[in-house]
């Protein structure tokens, strides 16, 4: 994903609303990442190295047909997106970022019929790498569906390049 920090409007690469918090808490659709758009991801917050992203409950995303629980891969996509967004929201000089690695622990199945949220924070930024961690939950971050930790390689905006 790519970003500049000075735009508002729909969330999309190149136009990340890093400082804008949607007032109604419902977030805005992530339109710039085709897969995120396809599964209905929404961006609720992206500022100061923190991002909140959600994915709605959708029968197309089910992993266990017996229970109707969302597939683990959906949670992976959510956590990856939230962490990447938190990294992008941690400095204005970042052009894009790509996931280097991601570790995910699954604590419990997501509740069938409910949206899943992920709150991610970029807790350390070096010249080349952003370190992020995230939690996925239905309504209470203290009752996590999964937690994640990852490293993200940074593409910085040219500062002193010729």
């Amino acid at each position: 994903m790519t970003a500049s920090d000075d735009d508002s409007g729909p969330a999309q690469p190149g136009k990340l609303p890093l400082t804008q918090v949607p007032p109604d808490g419902e977030g805005e659709p992530i339109t710039g990442l085709p897969f995120s758009r396809e599964i209905g991801m929404r961006l609720h917050q992206a500022e100061d190295g923190v991002a909140v992203v959600s994915v709605p409950y959708d029968e197309r995303l089910v992993g266990d047909p017996e229970t109707g629980v969302l597939h683990g891969g959906v949670i992976t996509a959510l956590l990856d997106t939230a962490c990447g967004w938190a990294v992008m929201a941690s400095a204005a000089s970042l052009k894009s970022t790509a996931t280097l690695d991601l570790r995910i622990d699954y604590m419990r199945p997501a509740t069938a019929g409910e949206a899943v949220f992920s709150r991610a924070e970029c807790y350390r930024l070096t010249r080349s790498i952003g370190f992020a961690r995230a939690v996925a939950y239905n309504s209470d971050p203290a009752d996590p569906v999964a937690t994640a930790q990852g490293a993200f390689i940074l593409d910085r905006v040219a500062e002193k390049e010729a």
Partner: protein, 168 residues
């Protein structure tokens, strides 16, 4: 008496069961994942389509899609090993499989994904190796690649909880 179908029919039956097993998971269908079979080894196939893109400027497949594909391949290999065992056992267990009633799916405990190269807009493949299957937990390594098996685009290591005997 258990019937012993001729080899070609037996292979076709297994292919059909594998396709049915894959199709029971809605998320597999959304991504368009399918599996080829050589002996007991599965190869996952993820045909490219625009909806799987994460970065439209490169373009590159969404990291969440690649991660999902790796996890799906791990879960399917475990489920298939189980189903194949039941088919070979014959009797009532095999009849349940033939009727499309599959055992409960294994559950992911933890995974670590390494992203090595961007996923380009073309078909992706994946294969899982079961490192260990215990009574409760299985450990798997999965690699995904595109043009060259020797140049993986992503790898997964993970622990999976096996369904209890008689559960479900």
């Amino acid at each position: 008496m258990s019937r012993t179908p001729p080899p070609a029919e037996r292979q076709a039956e297994r292919d059909a069961v594998l396709a049915a097993l894959t199709g029971t998971v809605p998320y597999n269908r959304l991504l368009g994942v399918r599996f080829d079979r050589l002996g007991d080894e599965l190869t996952g196939r993820l045909p490219f389509r625009e909806g799987l893109v994460g970065n439209p400027f490169l373009p590159a497949i969404h990291g969440g899609v690649t991660g999902s594909f790796l996890e799906i391949t791990a879960l399917m290999q475990l489920a298939w090993d189980q189903v194949l065992g039941l088919m070979e056992a014959g009797g009532e267990a095999a009849e349940r499989i033939a009727a499309g009633r599959f055992p409960p799916v294994p559950k992911t405990i933890d995974i670590t994904i390494d992203y090595l190269r961007p996923g380009r807009p073309r078909e992706t493949f994946a294969r899982a190796q079961v490192q260990k299957t215990g009574r409760r937990v299985a450990n798997l390594h999965v690699e995904a690649w595109q043009d060259s098996r020797a140049r993986p685009i992503a790898m997964l290591r993970g622990n999976f909880l096996m369904p209890r005997e008689g559960e479900g």
